[in-house]
Amino acid sequence: MPHKLNSRAIFLAGVCGLVLLVIVSIGVLTSSVSAITTIQIPTSDQLAVALNVAHDEAATTTPDSPGIEVPGLMAEWPANVLSASASVASRRNAATFTDAENLSAEADPQVVIVQMTGRFAVVVPAPGDTSTVALGTVMTIVADAQTGEVLDFGLDDSVPILSPSESADLFHT
């Protein structure tokens, strides 16, 4: 009799374990799917932050004057800019747009992703005897959605482009 009880207990424990495993698996699967789909259209407040970030970067990355603000351009779009759009995500989810991963930075804030197309030049820290100005046609800026502080930056010719269905248009020619 005790032997029968033990077998039943083991069977029940096995079933419970299996159910628990299924629940945990579904949870993990759901969270990874939601992590992928967390690129969103900015709210009006976030859009204002994105616009400031975009103007700030556009005014300091013109090919004629890399690094230094071109006077009068802070509220304008320089001629070298063709388009600008913005999305919102967590910083870790935005990392892929600047070819980064596994960011274990001090925080994972909500960020605006600003992406501009055109012709850009930026002054860069670089090792000795290398070009100190980088050039590119797609500029991606990841900035804190509240403060506008730039956290990640990319200047490329080919990168993942923000989906129109998940971004707001800031400017286009």
């Binding site: 991963e101 980088a134 956290l151 200047l155």
Partner: protein
């Protein structure tokens, strides 16, 4: 007589050692940067690591200064991964970072084009930070500043050379730091202490002095005298 010659030879060697770290006068500008560098010529390096402890780190508006390390390619040195301290003044965009301040950062310039910069921590303290970069395989490089890390992905760079030191756009900055426990990872992915066949570069006012060669040196733009 022989003893005198040996003594003279020793002095000569000491003088030559000093000469090898001599300074060249440079005008530091936003597009022509000045460096205090120690090169590691071990070749086929797959990683670099150094403890960086700045004695001071300041710069003026419109300029920047760093204390950092680089892992670069061999002949085409336009490709690299870098990490360390960045002190950035107001009114200048450096690697996409626009706000003035002090950062722990990493950045890369990779084959196929593209420059990327990432802030790992804002306003880090000026004390001993382990700064590390290594090839993580699958076109991926890992970079660390203290306890903060990030990966440079889709990066097919072929690493070769390590550099350690300071970079600035102005002689008015200050960046003198203690670079210690210099290491590199060899082609077999094994970490080795020190640097091999070290090369040097000092653009005035950048300067450097060995502390415990080939494991540590002091370098950067000297701190202001009080």
């Amino acid at each position: 007589m022989l003893r005198s010659c040996v003594f003279c030879l020793a002095i000569l060697v000491a003088m030559l050692t000093q000469v090898s770290v001599s300074e060249s006068a440079n005008a530091c500008t936003l597009t022509s940067h000045c460096y205090a560098l120690v090169f590691n010529n071990a070749q086929q390096e797959t990683g670099v690591q150094v403890n960086i402890n700045p004695y001071c780190l300041t710069t003026t508006s419109g300029d920047f200064v760093t204390d950092e390390t680089w892992l670069t390619t061999a002949s085409i040195t336009n490709y690299w991964v870098e990490a360390g301290y960045l002190e950035k003044g107001a009114n200048v965009n450096v690697g996409g970072i626009t706000a003035a301040g002090r950062y722990g950062f990493y950045a890369d310039s990779r084959p196929g084009g593209g420059f990327h910069a990432h802030v790992l921590v804002t306003n880090p303290t000026l004390d001993d930070h382990i700064v590390q970069i290594y090839d993580d395989g699958s076109n991926r490089f890992s970079a660390g500043f203290g306890t903060y890390f990030g990966d440079s992905t889709n990066n097919s760079m072929n690493p070769w050379l390590g550099q350690y030191g300071s970079e600035t756009t102005t002689g008015a900055s200050h960046s003198y730091a203690f670079f210690s426990k210099m290491m590199y990872r060899n082609s077999n992915y094994v970490w080795q202490s020190g640097v091999v066949n070290p090369g040097y570069r000092n653009d005035s006012p950048q300067t450097s002095t060995w502390f415990n060669p080939p494991y540590s040196f002091n370098g950067g733009v000297p701190c202001p005298t009080s």
